[in-house]
């Protein structure tokens, strides 16, 4: 996966993205996919802890927190403003 592209880790607070592809090699990432972070899911950055890590995302109204290095495994494409 390209590192410089848009990933979950590069979302700004309140910004939404739709997961475009997942680098699923890491079992940890597979676990996150089991929790619903898969292609097609719309994700919003809700907050981050001190220092920007870990980050909390909203996924179908639920909070889910992951670290930046994991968030980087999820490429996102932008969602039309207000779209859900």
């Amino acid at each position: 996966m390209k590192r410089n592209g848009s990933t979950l880790a590069s979302l700004r607070k309140g910004q939404k993205g739709i997961i475009a592809s997942v680098n699923a090699a890491d079992p940890q990432v597979q676990r996150l996919m089991t929790l619903g972070l898969v292609e097609g899911a719309i994700v919003e950055l809700a907050s981050s802890a001190l220092g920007g890590d870990p980050m909390e995302f909203r996924l179908f109204g639920r909070g889910i927190s992951l670290r930046q290095e994991q968030a980087r495994q999820f490429a996102v494409s932008p969602v039309a403003a207000g779209g859900d």
Binding site: Q30, R31, A41, R67
Partner: protein, 728 residues
């Protein structure tokens, strides 16, 4: 923190003893309201046991419907049937009928949080493939309404192939009657037809199953396809005859290509879930309640972190401020009781046993019940409101720097109440190395049993003056809490750098919304805690108190009586009036001191005194510390016993007696360096059999409890030595 455990029954006894019509597994995501619903359905008709070999609790309850009954088995919360943690593994094993001592369930009750259908339906979809009768309870129906979610229930039923779906509010009981009626006929329900949601998988499973001579559950074959030929599945694989391995690989290649199977599974299944959600759920503009506003505010990094420290500060403040009045009442009640007993029963061994042994010993521990309950109340509230998960999130970065993850913070915070539930709470940590490092750090957190010791020594030896606007006693106590935290963290760091070296722990955590804690749930858990504590006071501490009393009372000395007689005669012939009374009292005390010194306890104290002498402890402190090894709070009781007699007995309170205690050469025993050293010793030492036992159970070996005990005792001893020698 784990929900309290009451009655422990071996699992195999549970299933045999009941002639339930059918057994139903209750399955659901964590935080879906599963326990609340389970309690609602079964009420008080439930038993708590353990699964064989592991410490995960097995909750079994009976559901009465008409004149028949169903056996409900509450499983640990799980997101999927691909298990990532010990608790999830258990849930999966029970569902698939692999759990020893637990029959394969006849039906499944899936608990789905209506506000989290996305993850809930993922699990339901896997359950659909088990070919077992299934009923779905849609909990949090009230919360869904508030959030503006409109769920088309009959549409959902159609999507699930006719599986009944019952919306309920577990906290109020709304809809539960209908659910009960549906469950009553669960065994008559046709099992869902497989193959609706992921046809390719079902087809592949059928192909493989056709190779086996006997009938094979399709769900099992599906798991085999996804998880692969793991060690545990070798026997199962052998069923499909020679060449099964090759065929399995072909089918897996066809299904998953180069992608990890779990990733493919998530992709396929969530595609179906999104499809269903699109058809059956309508989202009105959500109404943002106070929960959402609180969440939003606490979501900012700085207020969130400050808030966390503030919350902890308030908790510890409350533990002391609120408990004091109640503790005073208990204190005066026990001392009155002791006086009463002595007055009625006179002087003999029995009176001494009851007054000095039982009442003084058990009473000195019972007095801490208010503090312990207040502490537990807060921790239960923090957990039930969803705040502890947020604490884990906020602290992850800090914890990572010491080789742990944010998930370790929950067991650590729980350990401030008691290390036993704290260590049990480590089960949510998926990685074994992190888990053990957390288990080793947890006993350093200042548990409620250390409080009595701290409270006694601080009240006696730290002046109650103010430093800036803070109370010095409170400051010392806070320092001790911090000291425990630092020691715990250093320990984690140490083991993570040596014995438990490994990659940095991962971190992924569902963050629940803030919820108003449910009064019923909170009270039930609190009551459970109170019972555990009182049972402990009634058994362990009672026994230790009696044993210590006996060790201090026997053997009766032959020398004391003649000495007393001689002294008394001398006093009577020389003195009169008040002087005589004083002299007689003095003689009694001397006699008691002589008796104590040559008792078993006194001898043991003298025997070990050389070991503890460098720490500045006399034989009495040494014997109290020795006696405290089974349960550290006992030390207060023992100090109460050994200082109730002898020269210091004139002082009315235990702290007064400690202050008056002297070495034979007349110098004070409890000097500041000695007291600080003693506090350090108590902050470190692992004097708690219950904690050792729970470490043994959770790690499944004696190695870790043995290590923890030796390590913590050594740290405590040398810490105290250092402090005393530097100060003296």
């Amino acid at each position: 923190m784990t929900k309290s455990t009451e009655i422990r029954v071996p699992a195999n006894q549970i299933s045999v003893s009941r002639r339930a019509v059918a057994s139903i597994a209750v399955v659901g995501n964590p935080n879906s309201g599963k326990s609340t619903l389970f309690n609602r359905l079964t009420g008080l008709r439930q038993r708590i046991g353990n699964y064989p070999g592991v410490t995960v609790e097995r909750h079994v309850g009976t559901l009465k419907v008409g004149d028949s009954s169903l056996e409900l088995v509450d499983l640990p919360g799980t997101h999927a049937l691909s298990a990532h943690s010990l608790e999830e593994q258990i849930a999966v094993d029970v569902i698939l009928g692999h759990m020893e001592g637990t029959a394969t369930p006849d039906g499944i009750l899936a608990v789905v949080d209506a506000t989290n259908l996305y993850q809930g339906l993922y699990l339901v979809q896997q359950l659909l493939e088990l070919e077992r009768p299934l009923v779905v309870a849609l909990t949090m129906a009230d919360a869904a309404e508030v959030e503006g979610l409109r769920i088309d229930v009959s549409g959902l039923i159609a999507k699930l192939g006719g599986v009944p779906v019952c919306p309920v509010v577990a906290t109020t009981g709304q809809g539960v009657e209908k659910l009960r009626a549906t469950l009553a006929r669960i065994t008559e329900l046709p099992p869902p037809a497989p193959g609706k949601t992921w046809p390719e998988l079902t087809t592949a499973a059928r192909e493989l199953a056709a190779l086996a001579p006997e009938a094979t559950r399709l769900a099992e074959v599906e798991r085999l396809l996804i998880d692969g030929p793991t060690e545990a599945r070798q026997d199962f694989l052998a069923r499909f005859g020679d060449g099964a391995e090759v065929r399995l690989q072909e089918l897996r290649d066809r299904l998953f290509g180069n992608e990890p199977p779990l990733a493919t599974e998530a992709r396929v299944r969530y595609r179906w879930v999104r499809e269903v959600l699109g058809e059956v759920v309508q989202q009105a503009p959500p109404f943002y309640g106070w929960q959402a506003r609180v969440t939003a505010w606490l979501n900012q990094p700085v207020p969130g972190t400050i808030g966390l420290f503030l919350v902890m500060a308030i908790v510890f403040q409350a533990v002391f401020a609120w408990a004091t009045p109640i503790m005073d009442v208990i204190d005066s009640a026990t001392s009155m009781l002791g006086v009463q007993v002595n007055a009625t029963l006179g002087d003999g061994a029995l009176a001494s046993l009851i007054a000095d042994g039982v009442i003084a010993g058990v009473g000195s521990v019972i007095i801490f019940l208010p503090q312990i309950l207040i502490l537990f109340l807060f921790i239960i509230l923090l957990e039930d409101s969803g705040y502890l998960a947020r604490a884990a999130y906020l602290m992850d970065r800090a914890m990572r720097s010491v080789g742990l993850s944010g998930q370790s913070i929950i067991p650590m915070i729980s350990s401030f109440a008691c290390a036993v539930p704290g260590i049990m709470a480590t089960r949510v940590i998926p990685n074994r190395r992190d888990r053990i490092a957390t288990i080793l750090a947890a006993p350093f957190m200042t548990c409620s049993a250390r409080l009595p010791v701290y409270a006694l020594l601080i009240a006696a030896f730290v002046p109650a003056q103010s430093v800036a606007f803070l109370n010095l006693q409170g400051l010392v106590l806070f320092g001790l809490y911090m000291f425990g935290i630092i020691m715990g963290i250093l320990t984690a760091l140490l083991v993570r750098k040596t014995a438990l070296r490994g990659p940095k722990p991962p971190f992924a955590l569902m963050l629940p919304e803030f919820r108003r804690p449910n009064l019923r749930t909170v009270l039930m858990q609190l009551l459970g805690r109170a019972k555990v504590f009182l049972r402990r006071a009634g058994t362990v501490i009672f026994s230790v108190a009696v044993i210590i009393w006996a060790l201090a009372y026997y053997p009766r000395s032959d020398d004391v009586a003649p000495f007393v007689e001689q002294q008394q005669q001398a006093a009577v012939s020389e003195l009169s009036g008040e002087d005589l009374d004083a002299a007689l009292a003095q003689i009694d005390n001397q006699a008691a001191a002589m008796q104590l010194e040559q008792s078993w306890l006194g001898r043991a104290g003298h025997f070990v005194e050389p070991v503890f002498r460098p720490l500045g402890w006399d034989w009495r402190v040494s014997s109290a510390v020795i006696a405290g090894f089974p349960a550290r709070e006992v030390v207060v009781a023992v100090l109460g016993t050994v200082y109730a007699v002898g020269d210091e007995a004139d002082e009315a309170t235990l702290s007064g007696r400690l202050k008056a205690a002297r070495w034979p050469d007349g110098s004070l025993v409890f000097t500041l360096p000695m007291v600080l050293g003693l506090l350090v010793f108590y902050a470190c030492c692992l004097q708690c059999v219950a904690t050792l036992a729970v470490i043994r159970r959770e790690t499944n070996t004696w190695r870790w409890p043995a290590f923890a005990w030796l390590y913590m005792t050594a740290v405590g001893y040398f810490g105290a030595l250092l402090v005393y020698q530097l100060g003296a």
